[in-house]
Subunit: 184 residues, 2 copies
Amino acid sequence: MAVKKTSREEILKESIKLFKIRGYYNTSMVNIADACGLIKGSIYHHFKSKDEIGLESLKYIHNYFAEHIYSVADRVDLSDKEKIVLFVKKTDDYFLHSEGGCLLGNLALEVSSENLAFKEEIKSYFSAWENALAKILKNKYANEKSHALAREFVALTQGAIMMMTLYGSSEDYLKVGEKIISFV
Amino acid sequence: MAVKKTSREEILKESIKLFKIRGYYNTSMVNIADACGLIKGSIYHHFKSKDEIGLESLKYIHNYFAEHIYSVADRVDLSDKEKIVLFVKKTDDYFLHSEGGCLLGNLALEVSSENLAFKEEIKSYFSAWENALAKILKNKYANEKSHALAREFVALTQGAIMMMTLYGSSEDYLKVGEKIISFV
DNA sequence: GTCTATATCAAGATAGAC
DNA sequence: GTCTATCTTGATATAGAC
């Protein structure tokens, strides 16, 4: 909840864009510096390494989802149906405007077997996503069933984002959201 | 159908393993050469560039799927139910023993927005997957519905592979196959 | 906080000996 | 077909001036 927009946050935002589109290893400190209107060396005043930028980028997105999307599951002023509709709407708003797909999903496949810290952060992000969905499903399904459905929806969403990114069409992605809603 | 195992194919097989686990950009010519018991420069006798190895790797896997898995949809000696069961069994046999997940799915997220030739090959692989599944579904569902279901299964499978790779558990992945079978 | 300059290393790729 | 040796480029990262 920082009031003042920090330079550190600006660097993270530009890095996230680049990591999603170019991939992590294929994004250089020069690419990041260029996007920020800085020179390569200046980035090291804000971050001590590229890996730190990578990990902070993952945490930044995870934090955004936790604050703005997963939190919907805890709203006491909404019915379950309203919760899932809002949840899906917010997820759509994010991914339909996120060039390059899902950072955490992308790096899950590219980096996670090489970098344990990245891997743990990515697992934590997906687990939180599952838990939030399961919470909304719990009044209608048993606990285990809720989690199984939630896991399936997360996987389906990631697969749909992959296809949307690859084919440049959001049509099938949007049907996933409708499907999730229909289960509540 | 080459009788003699070529050195070129050996290099491809080692490269595919490395690309899946380490990622494309993070795999160097030295990594590939080491895995083949060669020295870096020797690889260039077989391939003119790393990008050629990458593209040939994608085609190699695509060809394997077309020959051994997608072809099941054209079997005239099997019922639709037998086809889908065999299709899923062969898919499972592949991915349950494929450390690092699906090469084409991984590179879809890492490389495809940077390399058009890779992107086209990856799209072609997923389209062929969808077409094969849709062919098996066509006797039970309308053409459009068959393709919509097939696309959904492909996306769900890719998402499930992502989660299987990340969490190291095949439990949820296997349920996807059962689900596909239940639709025929 | 950003710059210039540089250190160090590893990348992709090529030439030519054996 | 594999090797040694080398070229060139670009990577991460650091030191110190402004």
